[in-house]
Amino acid sequence: MSNGDDGSRPAQGAPGPPSPAPTASSATPLLRLRGIEKHFGAVQALYGVNLDLPAGAITCLVGDNGAGKSVLTRTISGIHQPDKGEVFWEGRPVHIRSPRDASRLGIETVYQDLALADNLDIVQNMFLGRERTRRGLLDEDSMEHTAKETLASLRVTTVRSIRQPVVSLSGGQRQSVAVAKAVMWNSKLVLLDEPTAALGVVQTAQVLALVRRLRDRGLGVMMISHNLNDVFEVADRIAVMYLGRIVAEKPASELDRQTTVQYMTTGGELYIAERQAALGA
């Protein structure tokens, strides 16, 4: 990439030393969370969250409303700081203190509320905060070229002009722009918070196809969704959250809808056993 920000990004070397934490898979995941806790005043949103996000796989994070999925996403992307716990990036312990830190590692987020500026056009939104300049002035030509290439490579072909303001886009197009924005920066891990929540059938299919394309080019993807149809359509791995805890983390093939719903609504056996143990102690 010819982007000027790249110089500041630390070199991504070979996978780091094996993580001290026990792991199910043999390869080091891109991102590993161990014992993450987060509270807001009296409200505890995350309890000892352990989660692995490997490269080249779609991990779907499911859970009921208020389970803490968005808080977990914002913690990974540097908007919230965890109160406790460890974060490993490619095996090395890291502290992600801001969205900038996350971008520098190669983590990009598509937020539930999109975070696009309606009054700016597609190119302007995709480069927001990382504009290219030449002699102090914005280098619109080069930004437009890159944005165009990125959209074409992701086969986001329905926008009529990449100079149209985002306000004039349909929901699916906005989501596609937000995703394209996230992958334009050499990102290795893309977090998607409910990317299909507000979309119709056709647009949902469009966005899910886009998500698969990210996986196919080797990126790690974490997608949050309420919709189990969407989840089982794309997921390689599924993690279920219940009241701030991860109560299941399995390959998608080992889960079916019914079990997943059970985990989502009751926390599953693991949680029940844990609670009984806590009561007994």
């Binding site: 990439m1 908007i79 801001s98 969205p99 900038r100 971008s103 987020t109 937020y111 509320d113 999109l114 975070a115 696009l116 500026a117 309606d118 009054n119 700016l120 302007q124 939104n125 927001l128 905060g129 990382r130 504009e131 300049t133 102090g136 002035l137 914005l138 030509d141 437009e144 070229h145 890159t146 165009k148 290439e149 990125t150 490579s153 992701l154 086969r155 072909t157 329905t158 009529r160 002009s161 990449i162 100079r163 149209q164 306000v167 004039s168 886009l169 349909s170 699916g172 197009q173 992958v183 334009m184 050499n186 056709v202 647009q203 299919a205 469009q206 196809a209 394309r213 196919d216 080019r217």
Partner: protein
């Protein structure tokens, strides 16, 4: 780009996706997008432009139509059809200058969705500081140093208000209302400090060497450029500006980026040239009465236009400008994109106040000095009115420096025309108020049009 390669997609899946995309394209075709972006020819552009106007997003068209309407009405009803006399038109430009610059000042904060009610008095404070500093009996500072000092003070005032607004999260409405009162008081104090207590004046004619600095500030408004020099200047500006515009557009066309067709680029350049020629013909005609010949472009015109160009470049071609629009459109998106939102806001208030300082200087030059009857309250209302009449949104994220200039011209024309009719201030207030209401209505309607268009 590392993303060019797209491995591992089976051709079959590709076909399926193409089908999905095609359906989506049909569904999306109904939504409202600026149609000129996809137009390829000049005729296509015109049709696209009409479609866009019908959809409610009309840019500077309403203010241009308004300007033409006001001109026709005043030309017909003014005594002896004096409105379009060259002398009166030059006078009108000079009167409008303060409104134009104040309008440009206000746009910096309106773009953020904020407001600055203090621009009138902060600007006057800047003017008063400069005037007091160049008086021969005080410290007789060189004129440029006095101006620079005054503008820096104004910028610091704006930065201070911006600090209170961003760090203490106070509403800009209240902070700048306090500023309005405070700097009204400060203005009176500064006016009383100097040698001509209460009424510091500028040297207007037959000035001796010691009064030179004072005279130059007066000349900002009243000095004129030699006609020959002005024609050469216009030729150079049109050549440079038109050349760079042509070069940029054709380069974008060649590399397949969004660009207007050559005919439109040519038309834009021609329009600028025609406006320049008409302006010079007006200003270089003799507007003196009797034997005294008065010709030439008043300095204030190139000053205002230069300020317009600088602020347009800052807002539309730099990172800072982009961030102003982003913060105005969606502050949370800007914050997550790593934009230092507080710094952008504070800087915008500083630039607003500094620009107001320039307006204050022009006001003082126009009046030949300053007195304690500067009406800062009226000035700020005209500043907001100029911006909104020009097409800037009160809701943030939409507006251009150009809007301040066009809106200021409308206010100047109303002011001038009603004066020619011998109608007193009360009618001027009423007329400006009505124009402002019309402008806000246009803004609100076009917002609604854009919103419903997007959800359609």
């Amino acid at each position: 780009m590392t993303l060019d390669t797209d491995p591992g997609v089976a051709p079959q899946e590709e076909k399926l996706e193409m089908a999905a995309d095609l359906t989506a394209a049909k569904e999306v075709a109904a939504t409202d997008i600026p149609p000129e972006l996809v137009a390829q020819s000049f005729g296509g552009y015109l049709r696209a432009w009409m479609a866009r106007i019908r959809s409610g997003d009309s840019g500077v068209l309403p203010v241009l139509l308004g300007l033409i309407g006001i001109t026709i009405v005043f030309e017909i009803i003014s005594p002896n059809n004096v409105f379009l006399n060259t002398g009166n038109l030059v006078n009108l430009f000079q009167q409008s200058a303060v409104f134009m610059v104040l309008g440009m000042a206000e746009i910096f904060v309106l773009l953020l969705g904020e407001i600055d009610l203090s621009v009138g008095y902060v600007g006057a404070v800047g003017g008063a500081i400069a005037i007091q500093l160049v008086q021969p009996v005080t410290i007789n500072l060189p004129w440029w140093l006095a101006i620079a000092f005054a503008l820096v003070v104004c910028a610091l005032i704006g930065a201070g208000m911006g600090f209170l607004i961003t760090r203490l999260r106070l509403p800009s409405f209240v902070v700048t209302l306090a500023g309005y009162l405070i700097f009204n008081g400060v203005l009176l104090i500064i006016l009383l400090l100097g040698p001509f207590s209460g009424y510091p004046t500028l040297c207007t004619s037959s000035c001796s060497g010691a009064q030179n600095n004072s005279h130059i500030i007066y000349q900002l408004m009243w000095g004129t450029i030699d006609p020959t020099v002005s024609w050469i200047g216009l030729a150079v500006i049109v050549a440079l500006f038109g050349g760079s515009m042509w070069w940029r557009d054709s380069k974008r066309r060649r590399s397949g980026l969004v660009a207007p067709p050559p005919s439109l680029t040519f038309l834009k350049i021609a329009l600028i040239a025609v406006i320049g020629v008409v302006l010079l013909l007006i200003c270089n005609a003799n507007r003196g009465r009797g034997v005294v010949q008065v010709v030439g472009v008043p300095w204030v015109i190139p000053i205002v236009l230069a300020l317009l160009v600088v602020w347009m470049v800052l807002l539309e071609r730099t990172r800072f400008g982009r961030y102003v629009y982003a913060v105005g459109g969606n502050p949370e998106a800007a914050r997550r994109a790593g934009v230092n939102v507080n710094r952008v806001r504070t800087l915008a208030f500083a630039l607003c106040s500094a620009t107001a300082g320039i307006a204050g200087l022009l006001y003082a030059a126009n009046q030949g000095g300053l007195s304690n009857n500067v009406n800062g309250g009226q000035l700020v209302l005209y500043a907001v009115a100029a911006a909104v009449i020009g097409g800037t949104s009160l809701f943030g994220g939409r507006g251009r420096a150009l809007h301040g200039v066009l809106g200021g011209l409308v206010i100047g024309a109303i002011y001038n025309g009603l004066y020619l009719l011998g109608l007193a201030a009360q009618y001027q207030f009423i007329a400006t108020g009505i124009v402002l209401l019309v402008a806000v209505t246009v803004d609100a309607l076009s917002r609604r049009g854009a919103a419903t268009g997007a959800r359609a």
